[in-house]
Structure formats: C-alpha cells, structure tokens
C-alpha cells in the first residue's frame, strides 16, 4: 500500500499519478491524504526513482475533467481521480462518462464544482471601504464561504466586471486580492484580509434591502423553490438573508392576497385623471 500526500495541489498529484501509472500501480494499492489511518496497515514500499516502463496515452480532455473534479472537497478526493485515470489509460473510456458508476461520480463532482463557481459569481457581496482607507487597501471587500476549491479560478470573473477597481475576496481557506492590475491568490488567506472582509461596516445597505423586499411578490410565495436555488448556507453572508424569514411569514399571514408590499398599501394613493399629460 502506498500512501501519498499532495498538499491538495493538482500539479503535485499529477506528477505522482504519472509516476504511479508508469509503474502500473493498481488504484487499490494507493491512497492519498488518508495517511494517518492507512499507515497503520500499510507496508510502505520504497518509491522507485524515475518513471516506469508503462507509457499511457492520456486524452487532454481527461486532464481537464480531472483538474476540475480535483476542486471538489470530499471523500477520496484524489484516489477517485487516479482510478479514473487508470481505467481510461487502460482503454476504458466509460470511466469518464455519466452512466458508468465511477464516471457518474466524476461528472457529479465536476457539476458541483461548476455550480460552486456560479455561486461565487452570484452571491459574493462587495462592500465599499470608506474612501479614506487609502490606495494600499482594496476599494471593495467581500467575505464568502465556498464549499469547494473554486476561488482562484472563479474569481477571475470579477476582473472583467470591476474594471480598474481594487477588490478582495476572503474565505476561511484562501483569499484573492486584485490590486487594479493583477490578481493575487493566497492559499492561506491572511488574517488581516479575513478581518477586513468580516468586519467592514456597510452604512448604505438600505437601498438594496428595500429593493429586495419590494421586488418580491408575496402572492407567489414559494420558499421551497427559493431554497433550491439559494441554499440556506449562503443566507448568513447575504445582506438580504436576514429579510427572508420575515418576508415569508408576512406573506403567510395575510400579505398573500395580492402582490403589493405592505408598506406600499399604507401610503396615500393617487388616481390620474384621463387626459392629464
């Protein structure tokens, strides 16, 4: 049994996998990261220097799939990839395809990773730092908690979106800072970044909260569908998340008869005489 550690880096894993494959090491004989548990039983075989004789032809498309699935946080994160690689390099392309047991799991992980990238694009909320903060600090900061390793690649999206502005996204694991020219990724988010993103004050959030409450149509209340699209784990970091429970209960207790928000109904109305212009 061979136990390996790749520090959750795809590049490192790829080199290890290349070596294993060249020596025809069967997937059942290798594990990653679960070293502590595995070691108890493992008879560590010495790792031979240099590549072995087996030359596998790996389709480029497969490497892309593996790299994307590698962002998934979950059991057998790396050994699953090796099993796929093993089967495809031995001529069984179904290991990449949905329908096959392993292929389905691979595809499911890729899907989850790409969903999580969309979640970043959608649910990051930037808050402006006060202008006095100075050019050393970002103009906009956000705190986000992604479930998979998507920050580095998915945050590129904001370079196009935010133009020359400086912005930062901090997470419990890693962080990115765009200084107006380049994107800096820190695998371990500096504490100062985390503090900045988590403690920023937002004195101007009322407009967005007002908009959110008023664009909601209580006559169409359907919290299940909402939760399907906007999983509750994101609510706590969204300013509008705090409004959701009260909007739902207000709708349930009578505001469902028509679409109008309560506060509008209490204001004086105005009919318009026809012909007025």
């Amino acid at each position: 049994m061979i136990s390996l550690e790749c520090d959750n880096l795809f590049g490192t894993w790829r080199e290890q996998a290349r070596w294993l494959l060249s020596h025809q090491v069967d997937p059942s004989q290798v594990s990653w990261g679960e070293a502590q548990a595995a070691d108890l039983f493992a008879t560590d075989e010495p790792i031979l220097a240099g590549l072995g004789p087996f030359q596998a032809r790996i389709p480029k498309a497969l490497l892309e799939l593996l790299e994307s699935a590698a962002c998934y946080h979950g059991d057998q994160r790396w050994s699953l990839l090796y099993e796929v690689l093993w089967r495809v390099s031995h001529g069984d392309r179904t290991a990449m395809l949905a329908g096959d047991k392993l292929g389905s799991e691979l595809q499911r992980r890729i899907k989850q990773v790409s969903r999580e990238a969309h979640h970043l694009h959608a649910f990051v909320r930037f808050v402006a730092l006060p202008p006095e903060a100075g050019p050393e600090l970002p103009e906009y900061v956000a705190w986000h908690e992604p479930a998979h390793d998507i920050l580095k690649s998915a945050s590129q999206h904001f370079i196009g979106r935010m133009g020359r502005h400086r912005w930062m996204i901090a997470t419990p694991l890693d962080g990115v800072y765009y200084d107006g020219q380049q994107l800096i990724h820190q695998r371990h988010c500096p504490e100062a970044w985390q503090q900045l993103a988590q403690n920023v004050e937002d004195p101007h959030s009322a407009m967005w909260l007002t908009y959110y409450s008023h664009i909601f149509n209580p006559a169409r209340l359907n919290p299940k569908v909402m939760e399907g699209h906007l999983p509750s784990r994101f609510w706590k970091n969204l300013p509008e998340g705090k409004l959701i429970p009260s909007l739902i209960s207000e709708a349930r207790t009578g505001k469902q008869k028509d679409g109008q928000a309560k506060m509008i109904g209490s204001k004086p109305g105005k009919r318009i005489a026809s012909g007025q212009g």
Binding site: R93, T94, A98, G99, D100, K101, S104, H118, A122, F123, V124, R125, F126, V127, Y140, F158, G160, R161, M162, G163, R164, H204, M207, W208, T210, Y211, Y212, H214, I215, F216, N217, P218, A219, R220, L221, N222, P223, K224, M226, G228, L230, E240, I244, I248, R252, Q256, D258, G259, Q260, A261, K267, P268, G269, K270, R271, I272, S274, G275, Q276, G277
Partner: protein, 406 residues
C-alpha cells in the same frame, strides 16, 4: 420624495413583469479599462426572493404615473396607488451602486406612459445612454419598448440595450381590446417588426453599430382573460416564427390591489404558468410544434407534464431502443432531457446501454421507464393502457394552486 421611497414604489410597481434574464449578451469586459461591467452570454441570478424568482437585474419602472388604463395593471390611471418618478440620473446611480455590490448584472427598465409614447421612450433611452456613454457601463441593459414610439427611438434604444422587449400583454386581440383599450395589437407587432428589422440589418455586418445583441422578448399575461393554452402556445409559436423572439415569458396573473371587476381576484395560476413554460421549452428546444401538443382547443394538463402527455397520446412511437433510436426521438421520452440524451449517445459509442446506467443519470426514471428498451430491459408497462399509465405517473398530490390562500 427620498430616493429610497421612490425605489420602494417603483420596484413594487415593476414586480409583475416576469422577465429578468441577463443572458444572451455578447462578451464584454472592463479589464484594465475605465468604467464598470462585463457580460459573457450567461445570465447570473444574484439572488432569489421567497417567491422562488431570480433577481438578476435591477428591475424598476422609471415612473408608475400612467395615462393608460389597462385593467390588469396596478399602475393603470384609475388605480389608487402611490406614485413616484425617478430622474434618469437616479436610475443610473442605483444601477451602478447595485452593480458594484454584485447584487445585479444590470438594469431592466420599463415605464408607465407619461405625456406621450415618444417622450416616455426618450426618457428610457436617456438612462441607457447615460450608463453607456457617461459611465462606460458594460453590464446588461434591457429596455422595455413603448410600442407607439417613433421607430427612430427604438433604433436608438437598440444601440444601447442588450435586449429590447415589447409586451404582447394578452394572448388575443379581443382580450387586448377589452382589457387594454388604449393598446393596439397593430402597433405592438409593428414595434416587434422594427426590432426584428434592426437585428437583421446588423447581422453579418461586423462593423455596423450593434443592435440589441441579446434579441427581443415579450410577456404574455396568463389567467387575466379566459384564453386557452392552445391559443396561447400557437400565438407564441407565431411570435417565435415571425419576429425571431428569444423568449416569450408567461406571467400568471397576480391579483392586484384595488382590483377592477374585469379581472379575477384569485391566486395566480402558478401551475398553469409552469406547464406553459415546459411546453414553450418543447417548442424552442425539442422540435415540437404547438400542433403536436394540442389536437384542438383546450388547456395543457396540470397533473402531467406536456412531454408525458404527448407520449401517452403517441404510444405507437414507444418503447424506443436507447441503443438505436435517433437522439431527437430519445429526447422525446418523458423524464429524459437533452443533457441525458447527449450522455446516452456518448455512452453508447463506447458500449451497450444498460438499465442501471439510466439510474445514475439525471433523469426521472419512473417517468421514463415505460417508454424505453435497453439491452437488458424491456418495459412491462409497454402493454399498460395510457389511462393506467397516467394514473401511475401523474404528479401527486393533485397540484393545487401553490401557497396558502384564505
């Protein structure tokens, strides 16, 4: 009036329009440039409200003052609602603020008719022009088009907006005459034609100024009158054909405060709306025609989806052998979507498809089971009558209008 109060009134007034999509725009980026905003063709839903609808754009009216008296509309002149009006600059400020916060991907601006159609349209165009020219805004802009406005104004709108829309409002001319007497089906279609012509003119002309690159859409209110689904979908099919619309949005009529007697004061027919969207998707992406979905006048079934309904009426086509059938036919199997179809085709290139493969794909196996064959499976239900199958496969519990309603 404070900006925040205007926002509350003019967002509340805009919520009845269903289209909030930000998709279909060409690739634009602000990397290294002054200004703000990008688009890449894919829409982003930045939030969801508890009605399950996506918040993708800042969707507001420029004003809810209106000279018209459309019966289904909360902003009609005889309605006793609070009124407000934004200045174009105020809309620009709000759009940019929400955009920087990453709360929206752009703006969807509409308006009540004030003074004249041309004046109103000019104001809408002015907002888009300010955003694009003064603020180098490269995010998404959707402008509602006032049908009676001068075609030159519509052409100008198309230069700034990604999407233009003219609402058809109601499914038939007769209903429009009864419920929106000031609107004319003629000018609505004329405006659609103007937009269509604008799109065609820049097609294959890389140097021409762009024109509404995300195309045009429309909205039809469902349930304010008694038009049946067959008429609605045949109408939609004609709109897709005649004006190459990207989307027809169906909006279940939602009861309005101070509801006039001419429209129902009942819960919005959400399940019906859902079935119409499913059927519309079959028209746009599955190669169905409205004529295939309806033998004559009538509604879509509420208890089964339209693809299942079609399959139950056409048992002679099934069961289909997944290892042999044409992909377009596989996509007609209930419970099997376009993506699963593609996956089946990929898999069968490598080896024979077996029953258990289906279980691992994202399809609704219970629905699909009676309608396909694999190398190791032949449906027992192939001989069941359609009546029996429908009984087994219909959605349970019998869908009612969703939500509490007392």
């Amino acid at each position: 009036m404070q900006l925040i109060e205007k926002l509350s009134i003019l967002a509340d007034a805009a919520k009845y329009d269903a289209s909030c999509a930000s998709s279909g725009a060409p690739k634009r980026s602000s990397e290294g440039k002054a200004g703000l905003g990008s688009t890449d063709g894919m829409g982003i839903c930045h939030s969801y409200t508890p009605d399950g609808r996506c918040v993708s754009l800042l969707k507001v009216l420029l004003t809810n003052f209106c000279l018209y008296d459309c019966q289904y509309c909360v902003n009609r002149r005889s309605s006793d609602v609070p009124r407000a009006r934004f200045s174009p600059e105020e809309v620009v400020t709000l759009t940019l603020d929400f955009y920087r916060r990453n709360c929206v991907s752009g703006l969807f601006l509409s308006s009540g008719i004030i003074r004249s159609a041309d004046y109103t349209m000019e104001q809408l165009v002015r907002v888009a022009k300010l955003l694009r020219e003064e603020h180098d805004f490269r995010g998404y802009i959707h402008l509602k088009t006032i049908p009676e406005a001068d075609p030159a104004l519509i052409a100008e709108a198309g230069r700034y907006a990604d999407r233009l829309s003219v609402n058809i409002e109601l499914p038939t001319d007769a209903s429009l005459q009864t419920l929106a007497p000031e609107k004319q089906i003629g000018s609505i279609k004329q405006a659609m034609q103007t937009i269509y012509t604008g799109e065609q003119t820049v097609l294959n002309e890389p140097r021409a100024p762009r024109f509404a690159p995300a195309g045009q859409s429309t909205q039809m209110i469902v349930g304010a009158d008694d038009t049946d689904d067959s008429t609605i979908l045949h109408g939609a099919e004609a709109l897709y054909g005649n004006f190459k619309l990207r989307r027809v949005y169906y909006s279940a009529f939602s009861p309005i405060p101070n509801s006039p007697k001419s429209v129902p004061l009942a819960a919005p027919p959400l399940m019906r709306e859902h079935r119409l969207y499913q059927a519309d998707f079959l028209l746009r992406s599955y190669g169905f025609s409205a004529g295939e979905l309806f033998e004559g006048p009538g509604h879509l079934a509420l208890d089964i989806d339209p693809k299942l309904a079609w399959a139950l009426e056409h048992r002679e086509v099934f069961p289909l052998d997944l290892n042999r059938a044409e992909p377009t036919l596989i996509a007609r199997i209930p419970g099997i979507g376009l993506r699963t179809t593609q996956r089946l085709v990929d898999l069968r290139r490598e080896r024979k498809i077996r029953f258990e493969d289906l279980a691992r794909m994202r399809c609704v196996l219970a629905k699909a089971k009676p309608f396909f064959i694999t190398s190791d499976y032949h449906p027992q239900q192939a001989d069941s009558t359609s009546v029996l199958l429908r009984e087994q496969l219909r959605d349970r519990p019998q869908p009612q209008q969703m939500g509490l309603w007392g």
